[in-house]
Symmetry: C2
Subunit: 225 residues, 2 copies
């Protein structure tokens, strides 16, 4: 019997690569997404469309009530930064305790499924800005997971896997291409056109394009003119 893994899945480049890595390790991936009032709701539509195409055994979208955490550009009515990389400090797209909340739900689902592994696609590019993307955070959550659950107490050894954590965007893409990931089935843009085309100018698009350029590959997505 195949082992199950829960994969935090946004429909984006990183989490799609992460899901491919889970499959490579022999896991049946259960994809988990969140609807937390993000402005880029097209992301969720794309995730629903792509999840079965990339091999998720199941795809669950959990509604998260994020009223308590205002002040983020991804949920509130604040303009998304354009062509202005935020190299210093914590970006305004930070949502307090977001990955803690996401991993908590993933842990609940993992326990119900009998899955011992949870994959999360955080990487080095994030953790200068987001404290909940750092290796020490991931380790602390793994410790917690084994104390928090009936399964953990009864001998399940939970592992929180963050296989992209040391990789640059280019290295992530190379890894994915080696595994046969079709990057047309990923979505990154924070501010797509009404037709769903990526803008090519938001931080997320720029990081993605830079990643492809870094390894001399062409991004297969179509961008708005």
């Amino acid at each position: 019997m195949m082992k199950k893994a829960v994969v935090l899945y946004s429909g984006g480049l990183d989490s799609t690569t992460c899901l491919a890595i889970a499959k490579e390790q022999g896991f049946t991936p259960y994809a988990l997404s969140f609807n937390y009032g993000q402005r880029h709701a097209v992301e969720l539509e794309k995730a629903r469309e792509y999840a079965p195409l990339i091999g998720a055994a199941n795809h669950l979208v959990i509604d998260i009530d994020m009223r308590l955490v205002g002040g983020s550009a991804l949920t509130a009515d604040i303009e998304v930064p354009k062509d202005a990389a935020q190299d210093h400090g914590i970006p305004i797209t930070y949502v307090p305790a977001r990955n803690t909340i996401f991993l908590s739900f993933a842990l609940g689902w993992a326990e119900v499924l009998g899955a011992g592994n949870i994959f999360i696609g955080v990487n080095a590019l994030d953790y200068s800005g987001y404290p909940d993307c750092r290796p020490e955070f991931i380790r602390a959550f793994q410790t917690l997971a084994n104390l928090a659950t009936k399964a953990g107490v009864e001998g399940q050894d939970y592992r929180i896997q963050a296989p992209l954590i040391d990789l640059t965007k280019g290295e992530i893409i190379r890894r994915g291409l080696d595994l046969g990931v079709d990057y047309r089935l990923t979505h990154s843009c924070y501010d797509p056109t009404p037709a769903g085309l990526s803008c090519g100018h938001c931080d997320s698009c720029r990081l993605r394009l830079k990643g492809f350029a870094e390894i001399n590959q062409e991004d297969p997505l179509t961008y708005a003119a």
Copy 2:
């Protein structure tokens, strides 16, 4: 200026006592409840009614999408055990990762409020059954909290306070009475009558009544005949 604390608050005896302890320590309490599809929805109505009466500066009820965690008597269509104490093993009212999820939201709100303390009313009676009520779980979450947040990274020292953790039900009630808690403004029953009266027979009612008996006090609640 008064320091703020987030208090996980169900409207029950334990969390109400916990809120009184937070006030005694000089904190302004911000009460946080969850709507997770519990069958005893009257609990939430009571919590909304009581929160301002017991001195909460604000009361937030967060909707939690618990579809992923089926199989619990509190959310699914399983009969609530009556007059049959579950002394062994983990009770069927266990919801996977529940306290992890609750504390994650509390942490998000604490960061937004600038609160450094989170109070949770778990106690010794729970932790034989619920792994996420044990001291080692609370400590692990505190470690996580300080790694997970912008505030933690920038020097906020989060404390997860579980002041009831060593107390019996009787000791909790005595502590509350000493602090002036009015236990008419608490609700415990898992299976109240349509009029909102406590049944007196479910595990939660029986524990409560045993607690009052333990210290030779009378429970001020009115019970169904």
